[in-house]
Amino acid sequence: MGDVGVTVGKWPFERVEPLDPPPAYAELRATCPMSKVELWDGSQAWLATRYADIRALLSNPGLSSDTSREGFPQSSETIARARGGQKSFARLDPPRHDEHRNMLKKDFLIARVNGLRPYLEGLVDGLLDEMEKHGPPVDLVPTFAQAVPAHVICKLLDLPDEHNEFFQDRVNTWMSLDSTPDMAAQAGADAIDYFARLVDEREVEVREGRTDDVVSRLIREHLLTGDMDKLELTHMLHLMLLGGFDTTANMISLGALTFLDHPHQLADLQADPSLVPRAVEELLRYLTVAHHVAFRLATDEVETAGTCIHAGEGVIAPLAAANRDPEVFEDPDVFDIHRDARSHVAFGFGIHQCLGQPLARLELNVVFERFFQRFPTLQLAVPRDELRFRNSMIYGVESLPVTW
């Protein structure tokens, strides 16, 4: 139990069922909704577990997202080192955060993103064709789940389509359970280098008249004007890779697995494709792959749920805890594509809520409209308990061998 100053355990808590959050969230939510946990380096942070408190905290301007601040809480040493290297606006506070985010608002307008639907349909159908031609068994992760967002990043930033393999390889290595810390660090650095070189090359093209893509526009309107420097632009572009690759890829593979685990739900989806948008929202809620995000540092005194958080104290507001709160979602641990899951916070809450969410939704909708229609007899090609789940910043599965 959480008397003030007494920690209830060490973060991160263990999962039991791979697709459910740690049982500790439900226990704490019922007994001590605002508690304190011990982190990898011996420091402490507040842990929120109720939906209402998590939303309130993520909306509170007294909590900073700037990971360079002393005492910023992190899940592990590896993540601390990975995040320390990030300088994008995901790690900035207003006003600089707002200035950077505003530069990208127009590219993620709902109507604009939905204009990519024909492209996405062609992409997904093409990848499914290749899968079919290859024949079973197939590892869904590199063949399909990662391929979709890798191609989309190239489309979004107007990169040569062949570069999708580079991104898949580098991000995969960065996130893989089998990579050594050095391999992971190198892969991360390679991705940043790629964007630094892209900025240099594209700047030359902009001066020669190139105008029509996101990167050129950012260079012309914000780099050459002095609104931001090359390092900031490099990290902004890298954020679009980071934000949109592993997240979407893991939603696709874990989403497929979730439907394999729930054949009645899958049958309902097959029978009535108009259920896809609801099913996607429920997958987002149920899986909440961004499971080690929503960390903050108080820069002001913040009060929530009768608890006083002091400046300098760390706060963890896990999205997965919010998305399984029985006050908001009846029978929260049940996967049910018929429920209205739109209140979920899988994309976060507050000013940092995922910029790419319309694109993520479009990708997932197109995928789940088509995937099981093409492979209605899909099954795992290995025993389920042999699957290896990735427990880094974004939750996922290392590989997903399937047959049909």
């Binding site: 909306s59 985010r101 505003n102 608002k105 127009k106 993620f108 307008l109 709902i110 109507a111 739109r342 209140s343 976060g348 809450f349 507050g350 000013i351 809520q353 969410q357 319309p358 939704r361």
Partner: protein, 73 residues
Amino acid sequence: MKAEIAAERCIGAGTCVTTVPTVFTQSEQDGIAVVLKDPVPPESEEDVERAADLCPVQAILLSRNAAAAPVSN
């Protein structure tokens, strides 16, 4: 019911647009949400309240013949 957007808060998430596309859209100029109908049609009131609750930055202000205020705190 009247819906207004606190433009300085809007981050262009578009949740309002996805929830009630008949009442909300996004400006092509700056990505800020725009209210299409004043007053909100009665049949859309419940959905508009939902949109206001879902807005990640609570930028939708609803009023009924009184001073505008956010729906949820």
